[in-house]
Structure formats: structure tokens, C-alpha cells
Symmetry: D2
Subunit: 250 residues, 4 copies
């Protein structure tokens, strides 16, 4: 995976609205949630990655064609402003994922336009915000995303996300969480769409310091490495076409 000779280019996308409007959340995330995610990835990946952060309020939400063409992995956190994301930008991101750009939707991004567009389902779930303990259990040991992750990974306080989570059956189910209240959730799910790899990871509500947790950083860094396919993203093979007899290679 990844290109041996240059760093993985990661773009961290942050909605960055809660932090601007709710002082109690700005206190938890003084550099924004995107800032915490960026720092976590930099600490874990060092020279193996170049990480930038962009947000909803940037022109074109920071996701111009130029930026996406230069991105190996896009992480996405959004919640209160899903409907503020421009459809043209959603379509652009969608196209890049199908072309091989890695995609990491996080927590409430389950309801983002781009995740729902990629899944084709409602992506609904049940929830309860009551500072419950979440345990993240590995059900696919040996998967690179689970490498070095505690079993269970313990998040002391977190919003509960529960089943039924209306997604297509994941191509690979890596983590299942339980909560103090007894609910369960498929919290780490791999999907292949087009030539792209997607990893949905649910821990990370804005009201809790989940993205300051080093074990969570470990999962995110593993996931960045695993969904990155720079050579695939930059290849133009396999376009749909009227095909002459004789299998001229495409």
C-alpha cells in the first residue's frame, strides 16, 4: 500500500461549526476537532504523512479539484451542517473516492451527504448522549487497521450509537462496540466503492475529548495507511467504454 518514496497526503476535513458557536466545545477542542485529528495523525505517522486541514467555511469547503487531486486520504467529520455542504463538492469527492482516494468518515459523518451517497442507504441509527463508556472490540485481528489496538479499546465517555445502523453489509467488519447501556454498534466498517477504500469509524462525539485519545489516534493512523492507494488514485484505467472485439487493453 502507499507509495514507498513519498509521504501519504492526508486532508482532514472539519465542519468546524460547534467549535465556533459553543464555548464548551471550543474548550475541549481549542484547535478544532480537525486540529486534534491532524495533530494525532502527525504524531502517529511522522514523516510518513503530510497532513493538512480544511473546513466548511473555506472557499469550496477547502475541497477544490486541485486539493482532491493531491489527496491520498480524506477524513470527514460533520454534524450540525451536513446540509450546508454544496452538492457539487459532494459529487467531486464522490468521484475521487471511486477513482481510488481513501475516505475516512468519522462518527456523525454517518449522516453526511457524501457517506449516504456512497452507501445508498439511509445510514440511520439510534443514539443517546449520556456520557457512556464505549468498548471497541476487534473482530478481525490481523486486519492492518486493528494492528496494536487494545482489545478492548476503552473510551471512558462517549455518545451511544446503536443498531440498527442502516448500511450495506460491510465488506469487512473490523470493530464492534458495546456501551454501558447495553447497546452494540458496528463501529469499524470497511467498504470498497469503485477503486476506493472507505473506513467508517464511529467513536468521536464533539462533547467528549475522544480525538485527544492516543489509542484512537492509533486506529486513525492505521486506517490512513490502509485506505491510501496513491498509485490507484492517479491511474486512469478501467473507464467504461464501447469495447471493440479483441480486448484492446483498457
Amino acid at each position: 500500500m502507499g507509495n514507498d518514496n513519498r509521504p501519504i497526503k492526508v486532508t482532514v476535513w472539519g465542519e468546524a461549526q460547534h467549535e465556533k458557536r459553543q464555548p464548551e466545545i471550543a474548550k475541549i477542542y481549542p484547535d478544532g476537532m480537525h486540529g486534534a485529528i491532524k495533530t494525532g495523525l502527525e504524531n502517529q505517522l511522522g514523516a510518513a504523512a503530510e497532513v493538512r486541514a480544511v473546513t466548511l467555511d473555506d472557499p469550496e469547503h477547502g475541497l477544490t479539484e486541485e486539493v482532491l487531486a493531491d489527496t491520498d486520504v480524506l477524513t470527514w467529520w460533520g454534524h450540525m451542517a451536513h446540509d450546508k455542504v454544496d452538492d457539487a463538492v459532494v459529487d467531486r469527492v464522490h468521484q475521487h473516492v471511486l477513482n481510488g482516494m481513501g475516505f475516512l468518515p468519522l462518527h456523525s459523518a454517518h449522516y453526511s451527504k457524501i457517506f449516504r451517497k456512497l452507501m445508498g442507504t439511509s445510514c440511520s441509527l439510534i443514539w443517546r448522549n449520556d456520557a457512556e463508556r464505549e468498548l471497541v472490540w476487534t473482530v478481525r485481528p490481523g486486519h492492518p487497521i486493528a494492528d496494536g489496538v487494545p482489545h478492548p479499546l476503552i473510551v471512558d465517555e462517549q455518545e451511544m450509537y446503536g443498531e440498527w445502523f442502516d448500511i450495506p453489509q460491510p465488506d469487512e467488519l473490523v470493530f464492534i462496540s458495546s456501551f454501558s447501556g447495553g447497546e452494540v454498534f458496528r463501529s469499524g466498517c470497511v467498504f470498497h466503492r469503485g477503486k476506493g477504500r472507505i473506513f467508517y469509524f464511529s467513536p468521536g462525539d464533539q462533547e467528549y475529548p475522544v480525538y485527544h485519545n492516543k489509542e484512537i489516534h492509533k486506529v486513525l493512523a492505521n486506517a490512513v495507511r490502509w485506505v491510501a492507494q496513491p498509485d490507484v488514485h492517479r491511474s486512469g484505467r478501467y473507464t467504461a467504454d464501447n469495447a471493440p472485439a479483441g480486448w484492446i487493453e483498457r
Copy 2:
């Protein structure tokens, strides 16, 4: 599957544009392609199904909320007028599929708005219209959709559809086709989306009398029986919600 005490309600959706504009196609399908599909299902299913046909040119394309609420299985054939299908109707069909209505997209419906919305991918493929022989091989014997289907099922003349077919990995791969020209295609694919069952089946170009073929009718009838889940479609359970502690049943 299906309700033991009443017929499966099938709505056959036809684009019905080629037949109106191209005499050579009207000659193959004097009652429209939807007419041929309807007749084939009636012959196969008899009293076990009630089949109606509606088309693009009907008000709301024939797919009102009332019709869909009274439909257990919707079949879909479209090609030259995908973009004429109203987005509101697409959203309505999408919602019903997620709620449990069976869905059978046929042949060029791979590029319909509704199929692409359900898949989340481009659904592109390669093609060549050269009257080639298609062989449909069963790779999941025991699956109800393959029941009684010849191995291989032979379609004498048909448009070639070839890989790469840009779809999510099917939940169940039932048929793989080969063509005289050597190409292969995943021609019978099951997907589960929401509570609905989807079966994509590729044989059936407008220029060939594929929908007059009794073995093709057999596949379609098997598929209707299998994707029909009348009791599921009419149930309202599992809505997304803020969930109180204590698991009040939903």
C-alpha cells in the same frame, strides 16, 4: 417469502421510448418490453402474482406513493431516457426499497438514477452490440433464483456487457455470463439495501427478443418470488431515534 394468503403484487416499470420511436423495436416488442415482461411473469406465476405495467409517460411515471405502497416487487427497464425520470420519483422508489419493497433492475437499468443511487458507485461497464451469444452460468446453485434454470442458460443473440462493472461487491453472486467475444460479466447479483432485496439481472437488450425467452421468464419469476417481502415492506419497525436507556423495543 411472500405472504401465503394473497398474490405478490408486481409493478413492471417500462421506459417505453424505443418502442414508440423505433419501428424495428416495436416489431420485436409490439406490446412494449414491459408488456413482454408482464406476460412472461403472468405465465410463470399465474395466480401467485398480480402484475401491472406502468411507464415513463404516465403521470408521475406511474409510480405514485399509492402505487408503490401497493407494490411488493418493482421491475425496472430503462435506457435512452434515464435523465427524464423525475428525482422526486427516484427518491420515492428509493425509500420504498429501503423499507422492504423488492427491486429488479434489468439490463441497461444499470445506469438508471435509482440503481446508481442504491449502489453508490458509477455502475459503468463495457459493452459491444454485435448480436453475440451470451451464456449465463449459475455460480450459486441452491439459490432460489437459480431454481430450474439451465446451466448454462443460452441467449442466442444479445448485446455484450463486460467487466469491469463498477458495483459494490454483490452480497450474493448468482450468475456469471460469458459472451462469444470472450468477455465475462457478473450478470445476476443480489444486494441487500435497508430492509429491501435487490436483484440485478443483465440479459435483455431492446434489439433482441430476450424478454420473449421462457428461460429468462423463469429467472424473472424466481427473482420476483425471492425479493418479495410483503410483510417487511409494510412494517414500520427499526426507525432511527434518540433511544432512552432500557431498550424500549422499537
Copy 3:
């Protein structure tokens, strides 16, 4: 599924050793665990099924070729005497499952010879016998096995089974359980092997009256209906062979 005109033939296989040796277990299951499962299925399925029970101590463990040829669905509970099951009987059951006989391994049958032979993995898991509450959550609503099952289904006291459960990724994951102690478990798993359908369901330790629970009976009855494929089991198609050119149907 199943044949419309005759009952599903179910064979309940019981190890029936705990009940003979441990009075405290005989007290919970005076007719054996197999007896409780048989009664539960009869109550749920009525005339739709003919249920017989056989046990380890019967000649050939009650699983002669004649019995299996007359069985649509075999349920299996074993624990302390897995290694007493004759390899020839295991091979015979294996062959029938591949031919289309439905198979329902229950709880500690995860370590039975026949389940491990069908899975190809160690089928190991973690466990703790501490009378914990198990919650069984549906993650595949719309699946016939989940029909009418509470969400969650609550088992007041049960042995904990936890991940990592070393099985191939299930073809369909229907239930996930959580336990008071915080662990999670893929407790309802569908596998297709050969032409047969397999449903592994984990609730049901010998020390607790789980098989007297009507909601558990409901799951078992749904599963019997779903894995039964009498017409498939009795068909001889698709034998491996040297294949002449020209696709003589097989």
C-alpha cells in the same frame, strides 16, 4: 422456501451427557436439552414441521444415512463429548449439508467437529460463566430469521461468549449480542456452504433455562424455516465432472 405441501422434517441432535451426569442440569432440562428444543419447535411450527430428537448414545448417534436423507434441517447441541462423535458420522452430516440440508449449530456446538469442518477455522472464542445478562440485537432487520424477534431479545442469565470468535466472515450477520460484562459476540451468523444453509446461534448454555424461552424458540423456528430447502437437498444436480464441449446440461 420449503415444500408447500408437506411438513419440514427436523432432526434435533442432542449430546445429552450433562443431563445424564449432572442432576442440577437434569433439573433444568428433565427431557434433555434436545427435548426442550423439540418442544419449542413443535409449539412454534405446529403442523408445518415434523420434529424428531436423536442423541449421541443412539446407534450411529441417531444419524444414519436413512435419517439424514429424510431430514430437511438438523439442529446440533454438543459440549463435553465433541470428541466422542464418530468421524464417519461427521463426514456423513457434512456431505448432507453440502447437498442442501439445513444446519443449525447451537451455542457450544461452535467447537463441534462438524462445525469446525464446515468453517475451516479454529472456531475458538472467549467465555466466562457468570450468569450474565445477554442482549441479542438485530443488525439485519428484514431477514426472515429476525422476524418478530424483540430488539433486543433479553436473556436474563447466560454464559458470556465473546470476541474474537475465529470464524470466516459470515455471509450474513443477523444478530450481535452484548453481555453485562461489556463483551460483544456475533451471535447469529448465516453461512452458505455447498448448496446448504447454516445458521449459528449462540444463546443456550446447559446451566440456564435458555431453551425454555419462547423468544428463543421464535428464533429457532424462524431459522428452521429459513435453512430448510427440501427440494435442493433432494436434487442431484451440479456434480463435478469432466465436461464435454457444448455444455450438456448438468
Copy 4:
């Protein structure tokens, strides 16, 4: 994948009976089929791999505990002597695959003891040895095993392998082949078993010089890289156990 700082250790297992007994095959493969595979991998992987070859006639078939513990990827070709492979060696290989050793069963290895043990099915298929052209089509572009592989890869002469191939549904289907005679075959299949990765690849009959084909070497080399997980194979985590409350990490 793989360890960045040392070569992947590959053990090529060859049955090596045809070459000893049939001069016409020894002529095609003067160094044995294992020799051709070894050379192909060395040419493709260079310093990134250390390749050794062992055969059936070696003590313990060359697969001692010491050799397997020092193997990241095992390739397997067998045909006429499947039943000569000692069950104890099969069990040893099986355990290593579950622990994370990569495994590449080739062509007629579909009927080897070890592949059938890992799959749990009969692994039967149809065949015809008539020097037919095989076309290998990629249905999972973006998968590392398909990297740089022609679409289609053309094998001029080869034994036909056709469906139905009685295997569990592959976790990832990478290649589908067609043959001159019209048959199709799932010719490149990924399975995850335990912590191990398996890739079955069907081209390669003893009567044709398939393992001298550089494009086939490319697939094999890609597959070696992809199934190799040296760090996983050497880790002892996730052993089954009686689990104390409180999730002491395992």
C-alpha cells in the same frame, strides 16, 4: 504489508510427481513446476523476497515446524498425489495459516487436503483438458493483486476449469476467467481464515507452460506481497480463553 526491513520469506511447495514420471512434462518444466514458480517470483520480487522450494518427497514434505515458522507465504501446487500428503503436515500448515501465514493454492490445489480443510466444502468443479484459450478478467481493479495485470490476461493454452466451483463465497473476487469453450470460472479468489490471507489462483496446468508466463508471474508476485503478514504470523495475541471480568487485554 510485509515487514519493511527484511525480505518476505516464501516457501514454494511442489508435488513434483508429474515431472518425475512423465517426460513430456519434465520437458516443459525441467526444473519442476516449483522451480519455474520460484524463478518467476525471484525475477519479479528481487531482493524483496527470499524464495525456497520444497517438495512432497522431502522429509515431512519439506514442511517442518521450523520451516513453516520461518515462512511468510506458502505457495502450493499438487495434483496426482493429494492423498500422499500426511495429515499431520496438513494440520501444521492449517495452524500456520490461521496464525497469519499467507497461503497461495494454485490450480489443481483446489482439491488438496489443505485447501479443502480451509474451505469446508468439496471444492469440486468441472474441467476439460483441450488446450483452450483462457482469458483472465479483473473484476476488482484497485486490488493490489490486480496491479499492472493486463485486462484481460491471455493464456493461450490451458485446461478449462468451470463452474460450479464449490467454494464458500470468496471474501473478495479479483479475477473471473472465460474459456474458448464458453465456460466461466472464478479464477482469483481471496479468503480470510483466522488471521491468515489466502489467494486461490487457477491458471497453471502441468501440461502447459503457464508458469513460464511473465504476466502470470506478475500476479503471483502481487499475491505474495499481499498475503504476506510477517508481523501477524509471529504474534500470539487473541488466544481463546476463559476471560476474567474487566477485560484484561489478550
